[in-house]
């Protein structure tokens, strides 16, 4: 298994290099003048030129790419043109927010999607199953930006139950950035009020972001469970007189998890993509919001930084999913052979 992981990691380097090349090309295809934009409207030609030189924008594209790659190898992702500081500093600030939100959504997706799919299949044709099916269709149909705004109007404006956006109360100070995860940082500060506020701020964005994925996971789980329920070994188990609970837990759940895991892995990717929308709607200061700004300003070091980080996460999630298969189903081997 270790050999397999090592191989995958080596392969990842090539994937990331390919992504970097493509992203860089895309940022160069559009003609732009980021230095002019940075310098501001009263800047003189000399000031624009100075900025251009400072950020290396006056060099040919290939040279710029070479400098960039050399920097990346040394752990330097370049300077953000929008915020005029190292992209690494930007990512350090914005990435934890995205991870916090994504993790909250993953937790929701698993905690709601898996049991809902399982029970819905176990009670096939009953009211719960019926309700679940309607909800899942609704879940996959609602675009994030629409659902988000509706949630804000209902829970913030009318019910006044939940905050509209951001990571912490609008008139509260942000906690000191230790880990960047506010749930942890507020605990470090021992500020329970702030912790509760952070938790409350997580609800609407994570529910909005997770809604689609919950629906997909529920449907997949339901379908897989139904398939497994029809198998001979389940019939045998029941015939042996096992209680339904044990049958579901021992025979059905685990076997149904194998195909569902694939979907969960894909959904983590979807959540990362969905972040771009959810973060804008909920004013969530993560890399999605950062990337949207970067794209507007043709801030290529920032765009490349975000792309790299998201790619790394995505590749890792895929690796984890592959490893999980072997845990869930020992017949699957990572070395290409299938056990019996």
């Amino acid at each position: 298994m270790l050999l397999y992981i090592a191989k995958r990691l080596v392969f990842m380097v090539f994937v990331l290099f390919g992504i970097t090349v493509i992203t860089f090309m895309l940022t160069q295809i559009v003609p732009g003048n980021p230095a002019r934009l940075m310098a501001g409207q009263r800047a003189t030609a000399e000031q624009v030129q100075a900025l251009s030189e400072q950020y290396g924008l006056d060099k040919p594209a290939l040279t710029q790419f070479g400098i960039y790659i050399k920097g990346v190898v040394h752990g330097n992702l370049g300077m953000s043109l929008t915020y005029r500081r190292p992209v690494l500093d930007d990512l350090k600030q914005f990435l934890p927010a995205t991870i916090e939100l994504t993790l909250a959504s993953v937790v929701l997706m698993l905690a709601v999607g898996l049991p809902l799919g399982l029970f819905s299949a176990a009670r096939r044709g009953k009211p719960l199953d019926f309700a679940t099916r309607i909800l899942t269709v609704a879940g996959v149909s609602m675009p994030i930006f629409w659902l988000g705004i509706i949630m804000q109007v209902v829970f913030y404006k009318h019910l006044q139950l939940l905050p509209i956006g951001g990571r912490i109360g609008i008139s509260e100070f942000e906690p000191a950035q230790v880990t960047g995860f506010y749930l942890i940082d507020t605990l470090i500060e021992g500020d329970w009020g702030a912790f509760r506020s952070v938790l409350a701020h997580l609800i609407l964005p994570s529910v909005t972001l997770a809604a689609g994925s919950i629906a997909v996971v529920t449907r997949m789980m339901r379908a897989s469970v139904l398939e497994v329920l029809d198998t001979d070994y389940v019939r045998t188990a029941r015939a042996k007189g096992m209680s339904e609970g044990i049958v579901l837990r021992l025979h059905v759940f685990r076997n149904a998890m194998v195909p569902t895991t694939t979907v969960i892995g894909l959904q983590v990717g979807a959540l990362l993509a969905g972040n771009f929308l959810a973060e804008v709607v909920f004013n969530w200061p993560g890399i999605g919001l950062y990337a949207v700004n970067a794209i507007k300003n043709q801030d290529f070091p920032a765009i490349m930084g975000v792309t790299l980080v998201v790619s790394v996460i995505y590749v890792f999630v895929n690796l984890v999913v592959d490893i999980l298969y072997t845990v869930l189903d020992p017949r699957i081997s990572l070395n290409g052979s299938v056990g019996t």
Partner: protein
Amino acid sequence: MTHTFITAQSHAPKIVALTRRGFLATTAGTLALPLMGGAVQAANGNTLVIGTAADAVTLDPGVSFDGQSPLLWRNAYEALIDYREDTLEFEPQLAESFEVSDDQKTYTFKIRQDVRFVDGETLDAAAVKFNIERQMKVQQGIAFVLGGITSIDTPDDQTVILNLSAPLDGFLSAFAALYTVKMISPKAIRDNEVDGDSAQAWLRNNMVGTGPYKLRSYSQSQQAAFERNADYWRGWDGDHFERVIVKYIHEASSQRLLLEQGDIDVALFMPDDTVESLDGKPGISVTDDPSFNIFYLALNCKKGPTADVQVRQAIAYGMDTASYIDAFLGGKAKPARGPVPSNFVGFAEDTPSYTYDPEKAKAMLAEAGYPGGGFTLKYVYETGYFWKRPLGEFFQSAMRDLGITIEIQELSPSAWAGLLSNPDTADHCFGLVWWPTLATPYDYMWSMFHTDAQGNAGYNWGYYSNPELDKLLNDGVGDPDDSTRRALYDRAQALIVADSPMLFLYEKNYRMPVVDSLKGFVFNGMRMETLDFYALHRG
């Protein structure tokens, strides 16, 4: 939750019940959470909360010309002088008094004695000199106005004398308002300088000024939190806020909801239609003050049919700006009367203007060799500039009446700037808004119409060039005599209008939505999209 699930698996017989119970408990817990308090908060009485849609670029007042950062600079940093309330007259700030020599080549500032930076350092003549020199060295921001300084003398601790090689109209205003030489603690700059960067990297995230408020914390794109500078030289008598929070809110709909609920006191950088929809809402007022913002539609003067002055004039006659103001701006603007706002210093009263006359426009087009129009122009605008799309559409429909086709294209701001700042690729019409940095009409006319302002240097991206105008402006800005200078600028304005390189659209009032309880706001067109935290209080 995942954790509960895994644990449950090891207790096989109870899995179903456990999970269901766990699921219900967690759901209930989640719903009950906000009721525990702290989730939805109304703005605190002693805290001013500002919601702004545009991120500050840097906290360093010396290196950027963006429109968003000055909100923060204005309250932590101060300059030598400032504009008095809503006028264009100067009043002392960190300078106690100032004097300009008759030949306008020597500027003498007397510096206040009782001022300290928040790090305890004293503000004196040496500190002022240090800051002006830093500004010149970093070559960004207002530095372009300071190029004419030949020497800075500090005969004593309270006196700073600037010597210029030649008079420069508007020079004094480089020391007032938004984009100016703000005073930063020289010690902080020296202590945090890295590789001769004049502490640019450090000052990006830190503020060490003399202003009424000091920075408590700052996280990019999230919030800037300020608290009182207890030792502020003007003291804390009267009504002032304890702390100020600037919150960056990137969605207009959220910004609007927050303001309606009273969670934020002011909303900045909102789209026009959102602002107008807030007018008349209970508890909210929208300011309605004349500004120095003037809106233009530039035509390309070098390529295509619009290279012909007669075609440009015809287009000007074909734009019914008054109905645009009524239909799209709720009447909160007035037609512009030339390149300089009619309420600004140096506006020439007798500047001619184009009044809507489609018949005349058609006749002029025919005369220029384009009977019935029959040509196509491209109009480009940047993503996020909400006023430019409706303008483009209005332009399109107005030109359709003259037989001219307008193609509209949206671009990213950088691509837009890239396209237009390059003389080889620019052949487009585009919308532009201008507000002044310096209190002189030269500010407007040079930046958009002088030949030297083409390409990367300014905003003359219609590539208009008239040597006569260039000479008028060059002579005007260097003339020490007020009336001579005035006459030169007057002629320049008439010349620009006659050549019609841009359509002079409208002068728009400043519309800022604010909760009724907030008092003390004074608008000055030189200080767009900023607030003086010190002057504000709850009524």
